[in-house]
């Protein structure tokens, strides 16, 4: 067994400097399409190529609804005037429930227990949440711990579009958590239903069942985006500014 102790020590510290500093390694994030001023014809072509309606042309500006992006890359590869991709990962925004609730706050800064519920996930979001336990991200150093029981949980992290079969289990899990509690919805499926919902067998996302405090876009969101979402839920990071994701005049919501 001593060989494992030695191997572990020899590896040194691999954890990302995030959130203290930006993570610059390649391949940590797929990026999101960046909107902006576009000629109407170009914008219309871009909006037409998007399979989930994440792109809308409003006057001279192309708006990107990050919550709907499923990373099909059509808008960056399959059109004449392609969009650029951002190289960031701090994507988390407030959910609807935050109008009445705030971040968990100081008592939780160094100890937050998270229960993860897979409510119809494709496996990728869950895998990216697992990566947070990996030495490269090491969520423990920030005081985040995965707990298997709702009785110990402060944050409910939901992945997946909430299938009918999982709805009761999700509601029971939330009900079993002591207060104060917060809900973080992770991934396009959990936010909007993604490709598979709403349908005859799924709700269109977590917000139809539970009050969602923080939303993390991405399909799947990279681990750093999920970490950002958890930090936002506790109050240790700010959600993405409205400047990066402009007010959407079409749907009237403040997070694009």
């Amino acid at each position: 067994m001593s060989q494992w102790v030695r191997r572990g020590l020899l590896s040194g510290v691999r954890s990302t400097a995030y959130p203290a500093a930006r993570e610059a390694a390649a391949g940590v994030s797929p990026g999101l399409p960046v909107g902006g001023v576009r000629a109407p014809a170009e914008g219309a072509a871009l909006a037409a190529c998007c399979p989930t309606g994440a792109l809308t042309q409003h006057a001279s500006e192309l708006l990107v609804d990050n919550r709907r992006c499923i990373h099909c890359f059509r808008c960056v590869r399959a059109v004449a005037a392609p969009l650029g991709l951002s190289d960031d990962y701090e994507w988390a925004v407030w959910g609807q429930a935050t109008q009445s609730r705030r971040a968990l706050g100081r008592p939780f800064h160094r100890s937050v227990h998270v229960i993860v519920v897979d409510a119809g996930d494709c496996g990728a979001c869950l895998q990216e949440v697992r990566q947070l336990n990996n030495p490269y991200y090491n969520m423990h150093r920030l005081g985040f711990f995965i707990t298997p029981t709702p009785r110990h949980a402060d944050v409910l992290l939901v992945v997946g579009s909430v299938t009918d079969h999982m709805r009761a289990a999700l509601e029971h899990t939330y009900a079993a958590m002591p207060g104060p509690k917060r809900v973080v919805a992770v991934g396009a499926c959990a936010l909007t239903g993604g490709l598979f919902a709403p349908s005859f067998v799924s709700e269109g996302g977590v917000a139809r069942v539970l009050p969602v405090d923080v939303e993390v876009p991405g399909h799947p969101p990279p681990p750093l985006a999920i970490l950002h979402g958890l930090l936002v839920a506790v109050g240790r990071a700010m959600p993405t500014t409205l400047g990066a994701s402009p007010l959407n005049p079409v749907t009237g919501t403040s997070h694009g």
Binding site: Q3, P30, C72, D118, C122, G123, A124, G160, P198, H219
Partner: protein, 527 residues
């Protein structure tokens, strides 16, 4: 004489008019239209005596009749046989083949649940895909008359539903696990029937994540259904998207350019390498060997980053498309990625050597979750699980597709059938994947990466050897390119059937280890 001609001759001789054969002109598939009386015997003969693999049951509801298609593939040489049964729509009773083709068990249960077909002779139907505590009886969502966007369905659920108990003994009780359990597990429910510390059997209840992917595909343009094929089980996204594209390319007879073919091999093997590393991490984690789990976990993250750097997406989304690839990869970057993967594999080999010296780790894997070779064959198991039980089936070898015939590789084989054998297969396959990637980058030739697909009405089966095993995608599209029927048979759907083989009479603390060594995806199974 090749397999198909041989089978055609022999089926003709044995069944005569009860099974009319023809070889489909473009695909070369032997189609045998069977009379209801001959179905069971014919399928049983193909599966049992001729040792063909069972790829799946495809049910199609036509205007006038049901068409049930039982697909078999040569397990030693190339060739496909499809046994077709046609019944008028009003006739819901269909003979079951489960007594002779045990691998068809879950296919028939699924078709009963979703289409309302009654498989006569099947020992256990009901409460499968659609849970009885959520759905009322006699809802058949895959029927064409059922709208896919009906929301909400009017339900009359039975909240008092309780699972069936099998074990009747003094002191016996049932330990329910899930659907939300153990921190970071996929949603599934297990009933462990136990008399104390020893579990007599474990009964899985799945489809908590049933998203109706096959139903939602109907009526959609085929290019949009590709997105679903890629995303319904995204840890093996590339393989499933590739199988879907194979089906589209077979329908339209699309010649995929050479460069795209070999780059697809490169990307598929990159996915296999990453998948296997993540699976090995899960095994280390389940045995509570924390340092090993962390060490292997770092390699998994490194491979995800390599994929993200090379292709733009950590899970290889948006790359494969009917006719080739959506984006060309730079040769130099492919070489760099391959070199970095080689570095990862070197570290993985070192960890393997250390694991082989960790007796506490080996003790927990050896003779745990045993699957006998004969049982694996009878259940039609696929992938690393089957190859760890001595069943040498790898679609890349027996039914070659894409660019694999250009490269040399082996399908590793073990015979013990326990958790440790499965771990060794994962390590050996990871080495083979890197070898394939190296062969690809050593002879990358420039050229186009995409041939525009032609639209044609038709149906075809596409297949790949996905990281978890054989994956089959059946597709029927109309002239305008909309999907009429899409059927996915993912490897986990096949292997979950065999799950119960490995969970009879085991100690309770072995349960997570058995689960991790089997590496079954719930998302893939549930669709």
């Amino acid at each position: 004489m090749n397999l198909i001609e041989d089978l055609q001759r022999e089926i003709g001789a044995r069944w005569g008019a009860a099974a009319t054969c023809r070889i489909a002109p473009r695909t070369g598939v032997l189609e045998a239209v069977a009379a209801p009386d001959a179905l069971e015997a014919l399928c049983g003969w193909l599966f049992g005596e001729r040792q063909l693999g069972f790829a799946g049951l495809v049910v199609e509801e036509g205007d006038q009749q049901w068409e049930l298609r039982y697909a078999f593939y040569g397990s030693r040489e190339p060739g496909w046989v499809q046994v077709i049964l046609r019944r008028p729509l009003s006739q819901r009773n269909v003979p079951s083949i489960v007594r002779v083709v045990h691998a068809a068990d879950w296919h028939e249960r699924e078709a009963e649940d979703l289409y309302g077909l009654q498989f006569e002779g099947h020992p256990r139907l009901g409460d499968f895909v659609l849970h009885d505590d959520v759905w009322q009886e006699a809802v058949e969502p895959m029927r064409r008359s059922f709208p896919s966007d009906r929301l909400p369905v009017e339900r009359h659920p039975r909240p008092d539903w309780r699972p069936r108990r099998v074990l009747q003994a003094t002191g016996a009780f049932v330990m329910p696990i899930g659907p939300v359990f153990a921190g970071l597990s996929e949603s599934a429910h297990f009933l462990l029937e136990t008399v104390g510390e020893d579990v007599v059997r474990a009964i899985p209840r799945l489809f908590y994540k049933y998203r109706g992917v096959e139903k939602l595909a109907e009526g959609q343009p085929y290019i949009d259904v590709l997105l679903s094929a890629e995303r319904f089980a995204a840890t093996t996204a590339f393989s499933h998207a590739l199988a879907y594209c194979h089906a589209v390319e077979t329908i339209g007879s699309v010649p995929v350019p050479e460069r795209a073919l070999v780059l697809r091999v490169f990307l598929a093997e990159l996915e296999r390498l990453r998948h296997h590393v993540v699976a090995i991490e899960a095994i280390c984690d389940s045995t509570a060997l924390a340092v090993a789990a962390s060490q292997v976990g770092m390699l998994g993250e490194e491979l995800l980053r390599i994929a993200g750097w090379l292709t733009g997406h950590r899970y290889l989304f948006g790359l494969v498309t009917p006719g080739g690839l959506t984006v060309d990869l730079d040769d130099q970057r492919c070489q760099d990625a391959c070199r970095q993967c080689g570095e990862v594999l070197r570290k993985l080999n070192r960890l393997e050597a250390m694991l082989q010296q960790s007796s506490s780790f080996l003790d927990r894997l050896e003779e745990v979750g045993f699957i006998a070779s004969g049982d694996a064959l009878a259940c039609g198991l696929v992938g690393p699980i089957a190859r760890a039980s001595g069943v040498a089936r790898d679609l890349r070898v027996v039914q070659p597709y894409g660019g694999y015939d250009r490269f040399a590789f082996q399908a590793p084989l073990e015979h013990e059938g326990d958790g440790y054998a499965r771990l060794r297969v994962l390590f050996a396959e990871a080495r083979q994947s890197l070898s394939l990637m190296e062969q690809v980058v050593s002879r990358l030739a420039s050229g186009p990466i995409h041939a525009p697909p032609r639209l044609e009405a038709g149906a075809a089966l596409g297949w790949v050897e996905a990281p978890r095993g054989a994956a089959f995608h059946w597709l029927r599209i109309s002239e305008d390119g909309t999907v009429q029927r899409y059927r996915i048979v993912p490897p986990s759907f096949i292997n979950w059937l065999g799950f119960r083989l490995s969970v009879e009479h085991f100690a309770f603390q072995d349960f997570p280890i058995i689960l991790s060594t089997l590496d079954l995806s719930v998302a893939e199974n549930d669709r």
